[in-house]
């Protein structure tokens, strides 16, 4: 089992007020799955993603990643898990404008102890795979939204992570670019990558094999997608 969550809870305390964001979630995710965590804003889906991706710690409950309990890890150990086990794709891309495209893709390897020569090799290969080898020395500020997100996907892949977390990856994109990004994610999944997609849109979520539907800090539904969406043709546009 890649991810196993049991009775996961998360409280936020602000002064006297305690907010229960996650109220006891349990589920498993297997290696190679493509799962959407879907829910409206305020449902707790982002908090759940932050815990699953080692950016945050649960208040109670258990989280096993590759059968290892995560709750007891130190900050540095969590950083190490982020470095080696997960890749991030953000809604707002989060590329560094002071560095060129190639250097942005290389960034995660700075912290995972990969040699400089290997960094360049891997980053160039991945930029080729996302179709951006001709933009290698561009400044990210000069790229289109779709190109930026493809750079981010390449960056998410450089450390060969176990899971890729995509947080509203199409949220800032026009429908054509959004479609390209979803197509890339589906291709990556076909190659065996585990992908966890966080979104509030049902249509986007349906590109996954399974949807965990979260509302008010609880799972209201966890099921296979009956009619899965496939981003197949260049001309197909992502419906909003």
């Amino acid at each position: 089992m890649l991810i196993s969550v049991r009775d996961l809870k998360k409280d936020y305390r602000e002064g006297e007020v305690v907010t229960n964001v996650l109220k006891g979630l349990s589920f498993d995710i297997h290696k190679g799955e493509f799962v959407s965590i879907m829910g409206p804003s305020g449902s707790g889906k982002s908090t759940l993603m932050h815990i699953l991706s080692f950016l945050d710690k649960p208040t109670s409950g258990q989280y096993f990643f590759e059968d290892k309990e995560i709750g007891s890890l130190t900050d540095d150990q969590l950083a190490e898990m982020r470095s080696k086990k997960v890749g991030f794709i953000f809604q707002s891309f989060n590329l560094l404008n002071r560095a060129n495209v190639l250097e942005n893709v290389m960034l995660p390897m700075v912290y995972s102890g990969v040699s400089t020569a290997e960094r360049i090799l891997r980053a160039k290969n991945l930029l080729g795979e996302v179709g951006l080898d001709h933009r290698m020395y561009y400044n990210p500020a000069n790229l289109s939204g779709g190109e930026k997100q493809r750079v981010a996907i390449a960056r998410a892949l450089v450390n060969n992570p176990e899971v890729i977390f995509a947080d509203e990856p199409t949220g800032n994109l026009d429908s054509k670019s959004g479609y390209q990004v979803m197509k890339l994610l589906q291709e990556l999944n076909e190659k065996g990558n585990t992908i966890i997609l966080v979104t509030h849109e049902k249509y986007t979520a349906e590109h996954a094999e399974r949807i965990i539907n979260v509302k008010d800090g609880l799972i209201i539904n966890d099921a296979k997608v009956a009619e899965r969406q496939f981003a197949q043709s260049e001309n197909q546009e992502l419906r909003k």
Partner: protein, 412 residues
């Protein structure tokens, strides 16, 4: 996080906002620059002064009338006339036959109008013993110095310093001419070789008569102003000082050194006193210029705090892709140190240039001014600029590392 990556980042930061980087660095540049210049010019000026003092002769022991603080100035500086030192004191010291004493010269001095033809400059005249030429390593270029019999007979003869000779006689040969000092006619028997240089050049501007002539005819006094004793070797100076003190105490009937009515000091103690004073001035100036380093440091801290704020999102991203807190601290510390170090290097180079320029100007003005930038001051400059970065970078770096990655990623 590796070092070269951090340095590359720092460089990129520096050039990405040139105006801000320049202003940020300015405080440190000025601070390091002024420390280097002050240290360099201080060392050069100190060297100049000490060399001047040494050129007066380092194997000399001076005897002054009255008791003075061993390291302080003589009482005569304050305009006090003390009459306790006499001509016979000098002869007594010589008579004692201390084998390390090579000569004793005695001095009185005054200032008056010196007349030749229609020319009448005001000059300082020095009454001294014939031993002057030996004790002071003086050299007569033209003519001769006066002898013992001329001193004993109050002979009205005069030897001129080279500048004084020109002042009185212009281009003419002074030897054999008569000049008037206080209505008495003196025959010029010699002219000194020009000494040149700083403190020793006073000889060039003065005129010299036998000391007894000066006491009896020109000044009407029975005391002397000071005495100089030439010692054969530096290591015998202390022995000679005790010998002179013992002799004078015996002749002056002094039993307790507290009651001394004279002061004996070597030029070494004078050198020490000068070194102490110049060192104090130097360190004071360095301390003042170090204040600008402090101000510059706070300026950098301010900018780095703003930078951390601006780059919150970047910090969040770096943490998300695996940066540990220590990686973030290291990155921002290295960035701060990079800025201060580059600023320090610029300051050192500017300091070098200005010190060199000053040396060139001073040399063309005729001073024996050496260009001194010690390895120590360069090392200190580097070390201090790195230190400033470290001290003032730690708070911003820590702030950066404490950012919560989730909030940092959301930050707009």
């Amino acid at each position: 996080m590796d070092f070269s990556e951090a340095v590359k980042n720092s460089y990129r930061m520096l050039i990405s906002n040139k105006m801000r980087s320049f202003l940020t660095m300015l405080g440190i540049v000025i601070g390091i620059f002024s420390v280097i210049v002050v240290m360099s010019l201080g060392a050069s000026a100190q060297g100049l002064i000490l060399n001047e003092v040494k050129s007066l002769g380092s194997n000399l022991v001076g005897v002054l009338p009255g008791k003075t603080d061993p390291n302080g100035p003589p009482a005569s500086v304050f305009g006090v006339v003390i009459t306790t030192l006499k001509y016979k004191d000098g002869t007594q010291i010589l008579r004692g036959g201390n084998s390390h004493i090579e000569g004793v010269s005695m001095y009185v001095q005054g200032t008056d109008v010196v007349t030749w033809n229609n020319n009448s400059p005001v000059l300082t005249f020095m009454g001294t013993t014939p031993s002057y030429i030996n004790v002071e390593d003086a050299e007569v270029a033209n003519g001769r110095f006066f002898a013992d019999d001329e001193n004993d007979s109050n002979a009205k003869v005069v030897v001129l310093g080279s500048d004084a000779a020109t002042q009185i006689f212009g281009d003419q040969d002074p030897i054999g001419n008569q000049i008037k000092i206080k209505k008495s006619a003196f025959t010029v028997i010699g002219v000194f070789t020009k000494r040149g240089g700083g403190l020793a050049q006073s000889q060039d501007k003065e005129i010299f008569v036998p000391i007894k002539t000066a006491q009896n005819i020109l000044l009407g006094i029975n005391y002397i102003n000071f005495m100089r004793i030439k010692v054969d070797k530096a290591e015998n100076i202390d022995g000679v000082i005790s010998y002179v003190e013992d002799t004078l105490r015996r002749d002056h009937n002094i039993t307790n050194p507290v009651d001394d009515d004279f002061t004996v000091r070597s030029s070494e103690t004078a050198l020490d006193a000068i070194s102490q004073i110049t060192n104090a001035v130097k360190f004071f100036l360095v301390a003042v210029s170090a204040i600008s380093l402090l101000v510059g440091g706070f300026g950098i801290m301010n900018i780095m705090l703003a930078t951390v704020q601006e780059r919150t999102k970047e910090i969040g991203l770096r943490k998300a892709v695996g940066a540990k807190n220590s990686d973030i601290i290291l990155q921002f510390l290295i960035e701060t140190i990079f800025i201060t170090f580059v600023a320090g290097l610029i300051g050192i180079i500017l300091g070098f240039l200005i010190s060199w320029l000053v040396a060139v100007v001073a040399q063309t003005m005729g001073y024996k001014w050496d260009f001194i930038v010690s390895f120590g001051s360069v090392f200190l400059g580097c070390f201090v600029s790195i230190g400033v970065g470290l001290v003032f970078g730690i708070v911003p770096a820590r702030n950066a590392s404490m950012l919560n990655p989730i909030e940092a990623l959301r930050y707009e």
